[in-house]
Point group: C2
Chain length 192, copies 2
């Protein structure tokens, strides 16, 4: 079995989007396992105030993400509706079939961080599901299923218990790399 | 007058040390104005909990700094006494004569982040002062001078009012870059 890098993400995280686009642009997607977590939940567990809730950090994050995107030729628009509650979309990632996860993942991220759409809005979600050929009613039922609810909670708890406190986080050979700035280090470790 | 990058620092900050060493290794010191701030005070003003006070962030910071140092061939040792109160040394930077600031700056940073010394300890400070040919009694009196106390407080307040919330921060052409990861972007902006 080929070794892969675990990539902990939440659609709410602009730095996770930027890391993913860097990965796509380098044709490296195959090197990663995508691990869904609820970032807000993780912050709560870790007693962390997200940068979105600090005026100066929020302002810096917007400028910083825009600049990283520009330097890396990534099509990016800061979302007017930030932060939102990503709970349903993250549960959705766990609910849908494996063969649709990549497309759903890309469409959710693009809607929020490229197209400035409100991904907590029902019409936006319907549009994403339709493009993935996922039945909307099945999805609505699925994300309310106790098993799916518990799965996202468990994945977030496991991440917390493994010292993860933010997104994106990359884990390879038991080494943890936090932030899109450390993507290169994680790839170096993969090749070690 | 040649344009320079403002570099906001505190000796307490390992990422400021790493940024400074990158600058030294590229012979770029001349391109920077070093601006003393009290990082703890800045965090208090901004309602920010420093990573040193979060178990997971602290653990990550230690690993991350060690790895950045390794990748950049910087001689670095995580300090056993972290965090300490850097107030006296930061006031000292303001008190001493301009022609001694660079040497004092390097010795303070090296003592704390290269040699694993306790820079809040009197003997360590005496040793630094002696190597800079600074009279110890003058220094002790100087750092208790109300003018020096007010100066550090004012510089920290000014930084806060200019949206700065951490160290290192680089400012050039009214653009703010936070973190040693953004040193390259600040240098790009200098050349714009």
């Amino acid at each position: 079995m080929t070794k892969k890098i675990d990539f902990y993400f939440d659609f709410i995280s602009p730095y996770s989007f930027l890391a993913h686009k860097k990965i796509i642009n380098s044709n490296d997607r195959i090197k990663f396992n995508y691990k869904a977590i609820l970032l807000g939940g993780l912050h709560n567990l870790g007693g962390i105030t997200a940068p979105a809730f600090n005026e100066r950090k929020m302002k810096n994050m917007k400028n910083d993400c825009t600049l990283i995107a520009e330097k890396n030729k990534i099509d990016f628009t800061w979302n007017d509706k930030f932060p939102i509650n990503s709970l349903y979309l993250m549960r959705g990632y766990l609910f849908i079939n494996n063969n649709k996860k990549d497309k759903y993942f890309d469409l959710c991220f693009d809607a929020y961080w490229k197209n400035n759409e409100d991904i907590s809005n029902g019409e936006t979600i319907k549009n994403i599901l339709s493009r993935c050929e996922i039945n909307h009613n099945d999805f609505e039922t699925g994300i309310k299923d106790q098993k799916i609810k518990d799965e996202l909670k468990n994945l977030t708890n496991i991440a917390f218990n493994n010292d993860i406190f933010g997104a994106p986080t990359f884990v390879i050979n038991n080494n943890l790399y936090w932030g899109q700035d450390r993507l290169g280090y994680a790839l170096d470790e993969l090749n070690n």
